[in-house]
Symmetry: C2
Subunit: 411 residues, 2 copies
């Protein structure tokens, strides 16, 4: 197997793939309320200041700060109450020296006032006077105009994935539509003479297609649009025809190869026929997933995954997700969700190879434990029994029991 | 404000709420391919063994292990090649002593054979003989029938959220439809005379509705179905009418109160009219979000959130998400996505109160740093500028610069 002579570790292999891919799909305009998880395709600037008027941050009285100087419990300031600021409206009065107005949290500061005294530090002297027991400084208990953002500020850069907080910020600015990257279409082909659809009754020697569905789910979670092209027999002409169609209709093509070496060679051969530069990496120094194929054809990523469902899912998270993120123009990938835990047993590993081990997380008094899921790594329910994956880096020869490890959550 | 005299910390307040809520919504049957993120409402058992036949895990030759005993590089065993196992089919031959058959990864072990020799440890002697240079034990390089799961095994318990791995496991078993919990409908009401819809032009004294959309996004992410009931003025009769309608049509009701104390009291008063037992908790010892209202009316959770968008989002993640998860019957909540980081500055805090501080994550040579986002905590773009939230527990009086902290990702 000459292709395995010089195997790159996953990060280097990914670099080879990504540097050969062009950037950015087109943008499209959608409603902000539908934009959760989408990625901005142009910068968003603030159309106005936020807040757009001076707002109180407490319930209390709008005052001139100077009128409260020196006030304390034994020597309060006395101010006469001239009115109440209407919520959502503009006060139709201004606050002259020696006067004050009732104001609620979020209310607009009336003219003349320059601070708010908290209601807790006052007492009403009926009918129209208040005692102030604590001095306030100019600007106290207020939000200034533009304190959150100033008109013209770049508030959300291009390439940002929108979370609930960004959706909220956009709405606060009255931005109800925005331009986001189109979701890349990811074509998924399952090859292998032994593979049958999940709805077909199981026959001896056959296995149900697992990869089309695990990969669809992964693609969906990463922000792509999965397109399933079905099960292809191990014949070069048929595989080529389906792969060409997928390449034409999609932005990324993923082929899960049959599990034998000959089926994998067939996949590589077919990928090379789809366009230049073709196969860039054939074999990666990782377990599981060594027989991975990374290619670029006609400017689009074509990825050959091992047929084993566990390898396919692990490798897709290492290579397919970053390709989708590049297609989306995602500038800064979000920190990957992980949990710190203590390894329960010694885990051996081969130097130079990156290993990914499914682990279960267990809470005990001392914190979180990571317990490797036993059994052969290529069993899909071993992955279903796991909470996450632990990486043994290429430069380690294993990890000792008790080691603090970072477990990437599978979500 | 008598309601704030005895404030519970968030975990205790949550316990009071959850213990008063009945369990489980109804289940519904859906296609497995659409089930990503859904929660099982009945246990899934395996209809058959997996694998359902003895499969090779390598490319090589199916042999009788005994025929290879003692074989090594200088003294190979010689076996005669009788055929090739067809991928996806049943071999129409059996392997007698002194014989072997070509087999590919995933192929079915022919009768008579009890192990597979890897192709790397053999050499073909044309036309029909192979040399074996390494002995194999019985069962070597094979997956046994039922090694992943046995027919009748409980493979996915009730209350499991389905990830790509579970979807794959279901498909492997040919389970193309399954029963999942209906998604709870979460009614969202925004109250406040100062609030206007995001599409309305901004007027002095008014602010755009932010909470309806941040909460919708959060509910969606947690597996609920958000239903927006619009903006309600600060009038008890109108708020009560809308809240009653939401309570009738939904499984959970969330009301973001106006920001003033009087608006919050109005919310509590209206909630108490909706049904027994009514308000259980009014005020929680947390910042931001002290004026939170937790209630149960007619067996459904009704939650009053502070109007400030940052408080509303933080509090919803502490209380609304667990309520949705209980309604879904989620048995074991997934570990929350987090990142370990080193705090850049001293953060003071009040003993007895749980504080949630928005932080930005910064990568430097020494690892990940957590830098608090400066500025008043109630500015929505401060949350948009943050990667996650850091918790200062109630029993701490702050955290020192350099402390290792766990940052919950906002995703």
């Amino acid at each position: 197997m000459p292709e395995f002579l010089e195997l790159l570790p996953p990060p280097d292999a990914l670099h080879v793939l990504l540097r050969s891919l062009p950037v950015l799909l087109q943008g499209e305009t959608i409603a902000t309320r539908d934009a959760l998880g989408r990625v901005t395709s142009s910068p968003v600037t603030a159309p106005h200041h936020l807040p757009s008027f001076i707002r109180s941050t407490v319930d209390g009285y709008a005052v001139r700060a100077m009128d409260t100087y020196g006030a304390n419990d034994s020597l309060p300031s006395y101010l006469s109450l001239i009115g109440e600021v209407p919520m959502g409206g503009v006060p139709d009065f201004s606050v002259a020296p020696g006067r004050c107005a009732l104001i609620h949290t979020g209310g607009m500061l009336p003219e003349g006032a320059d601070a708010v005294v908290m209601v807790e530090h006052t007492q009403l002297v009926p009918p129209e006077e208040i005692e102030v027991f604590r001095a306030v400084a100019v600007g106290e208990n207020l939000l200034k105009v533009g304190e959150d953002v100033t008109a013209g500020d770049l508030v959300i850069p291009t390439g940002t994935r929108l979370r609930p907080a960004e959706i909220g910020g956009l709405m606060a600015l009255g931005i109800t539509h925005l331009s986001v990257a189109r979701q890349p279409r990811v074509g998924i082909l399952s090859s292998g003479d032994e593979v049958i659809p999940p709805e077909a009754p199981l026959e001896p020697g056959k296995v149900h297609d697992v990869n089309a569905y695990t990969l669809s789910a992964l693609v969906e979670g990463a922000g792509g649009k999965p397109v399933i092209y079905g099960i292809i027999p191990d014949r070069a002409d048929i595989l080529e025809r389906s792969a060409r169609q997928a390449l034409e209709e999609c932005n990324v093509v993923v082929i899960t190869a049959g599990s034998s070496a000959s089926a994998r060679d067939l996949t590589a051969e077919v990928i090379n026929r789809l366009g230049n530069p073709g196969v860039l990496v054939h074999g990666v120094n990782v377990r599981p997933g060594k027989p991975t194929i990374l290619a670029v054809c006609q400017g689009k990523a074509v990825i050959g995954l091992p047929g084993n469902p566990v390898s396919a899912l692990v490798i897709a998270s290492l290579f397919v997700i970053p390709v989708i993120e590049k297609a989306l123009g995602l500038i800064r990938s979000s920190p990957r969700a992980s949990v710190n835990a203590r390894l329960t047993i010694n885990l051996p590993s081969q130097a130079g190879r990156e290993d990914w081990v499914p682990v279960k997380l267990i809470q005990d008094a001392a914190g979180t434990l990571a317990e490797p899921v036993f059994g052969k790594s290529n069993l899909i329910f071993n992955l279903a029994r796991a909470d996450g994956l632990l990486c043994i880096p290429a430069d380690a020869t294993g990890l000792p029991a008790g080691a603090q490890v970072e477990v990437l959550l599978m979500i």
